[in-house]
Amino acid sequence: MATNTIRVNESPLVLYCLRRADDALVMGHRLSEWCGRGPALEEEMALANMGLDLLGQARSLYTYAAEVEAAGNDEDRYAYLRDARQYRNLLLAEQPNGDFARTILRQFFYAAFADPYWRAMMKSSDPTLAAIAAKSEKESAYHLRHTAEWVIRLGDGTEESHRRAAEAVAHLWPYTGEMFEADAAEQELIAAGVVMDPASFRAEWDKTVSEILAEATLEKPAPGWMQKGGRTGLHSEHLGHMLAEMQVLQRTYPDATW
């Protein structure tokens, strides 16, 4: 049985779509791992809703990538038939769920970026990306609202919840810098007005994060060393396990229809 890993011709636009799609898929998958494990039924509903939003974003972006690449790939081939080295998501996205605080902080840090980012992307010169952004913006706005409320409650809740939230902030902080990076391929798209420069959202992200962490009585870490590599396929060890689980059927039965 031949290996069925695909090869992708990563033009700047395809690469851009895969990066954003991978962010959304990996986080959507992580949120789906909460199913049956949430702290309350109400919160299970919320986590699943966020997961479904992100899965939807991933599917739109993969579908557009496939259209642009025009090499016979589709959403499932991108999701199920690429190895970890071919995944382009942020390291932040693949961080394991940990406890509820870790998950909430991960989603909060991302949503605080994604909300203004997708809002700005609605002005993309690419109508498909603008349409995806319009949908994603509303979803991200709610994710930001919901996770921010939880950050406040966990930080300013009990001693235990404060400790857990502070640990989550400290653990995830070094993975937040990668969101604002753009390599040469992305700079090309930025120059053409197709996508927005992620660096331009840093000030707004800083402001949101500072305000919410302050209200949560959590300390904002000092600027320091930031991890990166996800965008070029250099991942933590966690992603491989996630993909092994996610891709098991597609890998075991190549070319089957499900």
Partner: protein, 95 residues
């Protein structure tokens, strides 16, 4: 084993067709903000609503079913409050 008791809220939703808010169910949440978000996540997953109210269940005062007769029956005999009580000739047209 269960230490924390989370308060109960009643959820009212105004659906798309411009009706008034209608009771749809209840849920548990620690405070009003979380209750509103939970109501959104639990009760509007299929586009059922445009507006949500949440009310602490213990803030609702209900009529006593045992007093149904006193409360509601007196209204049943006041048929002159309904348009069909009055006769208007057909020639007059719709009124």
């Amino acid at each position: 084993m269960t230490k924390t008791v989370t308060p109960l809220w009643e959820v009212f939703i105004r659906s798309r067709n411009g009706l008034s808010h209608k009771h749809v169910g209840s849920l548990h949440a620690a405070d009003a903000t979380l209750a509103l978000q939970a109501a959104r996540d639990v009760y509007t997953r299929r586009g059922e609503g445009l507006s949500i109210w949440v009310v602490p269940s213990n803030a609702i005062t209900a009529s006593d079913p045992g007093e149904k007769g006193m409360m509601f029956e007196p209204a049943e005999t006041k048929i002159y409050r309904h348009p069909t009580f009055y006769e208007v000739p057909n020639e007059v047209g719709h009124m």
